[in-house]
Amino acid sequence: MSTKHIKTINKQNLVKTISSGGCGECQACKTSCTVGNQVCRKE
């Protein structure tokens, strides 16, 4: 959506990846583990 008042900036819908994801082929810090900043190899 892109209107005067609301602009949507991304399209990946995580809910849809519950069934489409999970292949397990995905991969700096060693102390502040985060998963959200990874990238899906398939996508």
Partner: protein, 467 residues
């Protein structure tokens, strides 16, 4: 439809208003009017369709929100219509009933090992969780035989998984370079033979990173994590050599040569900030302006009695530093001089799937650490704790219950995490931190949570600025 706090996160960065739909991960940027209407919707408890007719709405709107509007009633109606359409499209207040009874696949495979090739170090970093390299035991090096057995274990335990990873770690892994070299070659040959894609990484303090060692690591495309804390006085206070002298003047030229030799790619310059440098933005700026484009700097994780440890009262200053860093990040990008800050990496269109986000870092089941003598642990931070030894490279996993326990400590199993807006980005946080601070894998480390949420807000704001 009423506003649901656990399904959304609304925040402001500078003049920009952001609305995150938590389950879908969809991000919306709001005008001042839309933002104030969402806040009114949230605080009034009214239904969205009743919002335009609410007698209190007009009084709640600021001059800024209605500034420039030729038709405020029409604009209010447009915002409500937009929010309604987003909800209908599953992009606002989205539910994920599939998660209520989500079950991980029964079988899991190991896909990464952290090889502790050296429980010894040539620095004496004051905050080292490895006890200056020895992990609370004797100083020791991994043998080639043990390293090969570990690799064979990984290749076997990874099943049909194509991508596997090895990180050479310590201590200082380059203190055992002859074994590292042979293992790199063995890994390359075995992965080819078995049809695997092997990524090899090495974490080093840089003292020995030169000459033939550097040439070998570059020739074999080994990803490097280079440890430096920033400005000279900051680095040398926390990262002295064995004799007490600073390490910055030796290490920085090594790192510059390394990065130049590999074309500025396939590395991270990785630092730790402590209570001694709460102005850590200056350290990151120093790194970037010294020619390093790929940087990752994290807060020290230390027990509160340590003088360099953070306390809750430090958070406002640390938040301001992340704000400054985010603005610097955007300014550099706009000036054509971008850099990468690991914790601002956020791919909102090709990020990990929800099953991955639920499983977290994989410690204990997908990811294991191998001590020099071959004992397997859930991750590098549990090495040396006999209660967490899960097996060894000779016999494999002997205590699957430990791995299963880690696996069951996913983000939805943690009470604090279940309603947290950041749950699908941090995935429940670090198991080792939870254990070290709360002696409970399901009780996350609070200070880490607050900093993670701040970094995430900055990363989302950056994405909004780039859109």
């Amino acid at each position: 439809m009423k506003f649901a706090e656990n399904l959304t996160h609304v925040f402001t960065f500078g003049e920009d208003h952001i609305l995150l739909d938590v389950n879908s991960g969809i991000v919306h940027q709001l005008s001042p009017l839309a933002y104030e209407m969402v806040q009114f919707w949230r605080q009034s408890g009214c239904d969205l369709k009743e919002l335009p007719a609410s007698p209190n709405l007009a009084a709640a709107l600021s001059a800024k929100a209605i500034d420039g509007s030729q038709d405020i009633a029409g604009d209010i109606k447009e915002v409500c219509q937009g929010l309604t359409e987003l909800a209908a499209a599953g992009m606002l207040m989205s539910e994920a009933p599939e998660l209520e009874n989500y079950r991980f696949p029964k079988d899991y495979v190991v896909k990464a090992l952290c090889l502790h090739v050296a429980h010894d170090c040539n620095l004496r970093c004051r905050y080292c969780f490895a006890g200056t390299g020895a992990f609370g035991g004797d100083r020791s090096l991994m043998s080639l035989e043990t390293g090969k057995k570990a690799m064979d274990f990984l290749f076997e335990a990874s099943g049909s998984r194509k991508h596997v990873e090895i990180d050479y770690f310590g201590g200082e892994p380059l203190m055992n370079f002859p074994v590292v070299k042979e293992l790199v070659l063995y890994g390359e040959a075995e992965s080819r033979r078995r049809g695997k894609e092997l990524k090899q990484t090495l974490t080093t303090n840089g003292l020995l990173l030169q000459g033939q060692i550097l040439d070998f690591l570059n020739e074999h495309d080994i990803a490097l994590v280079l440890s430096l804390d920033g400005r000279k006085e900051v680095n040398d206070r926390m990262r002295p050599a064995i004799g007490g002298q600073g390490s910055y003047d030796v290490i920085l030229p090594h790192f510059k040569e390394t990065v130049e030799a590999r074309g500025g790619d396939n590395y991270y310059l990785r630092g730790t900030y402590t209570r001694f440098n709460k102005d850590f933005y200056e350290d990151i700026r120093h790194m970037v302006e010294s020619g390093f484009d790929l940087v990752s700097v994290e807060p020290v994780v230390a027990q509160p009695q340590e003088e360099y440890a953070f306390h809750e009262e430090d958070l406002p200053e640390l938040f301001r530093q992340y704000d400054e860093l985010a603005r610097y990040y955007v300014a550099r990008a706009r000036a054509g001089k971008p850099f990468t800050f690991f914790h601002f990496n956020l791919d909102l269109n090709h990020g990990p799937c929800l099953p991955k986000r639920l499983s977290g870092c994989g410690a204990g089941h997908e990811y294991l650490a191998v001590a020099p003598e071959g004992t397997l642990y859930p991750c590098h931070q549990f090495v040396g704790n006999p209660d967490f030894a899960v097996g060894n490279v000779d016999k494999g996993i002997e205590k699957p219950s430990i791995g299963n326990n880690f696996r069951e400590c996913h983000v939805l199993a943690k009470e604090k995490c279940r309603a947290c807006w950041a749950r699908f980005y941090c995935s429940g946080g670090c198991h080792a931190n939870a254990w070290n601070f709360n002696h409970d894998l399901k009780e996350p480390y609070d200070l880490g949570c607050e900093l993670e949420k701040k970094r995430l807000e900055c990363a989302i704001w950056i994405k909004a600025k780039e859109a």
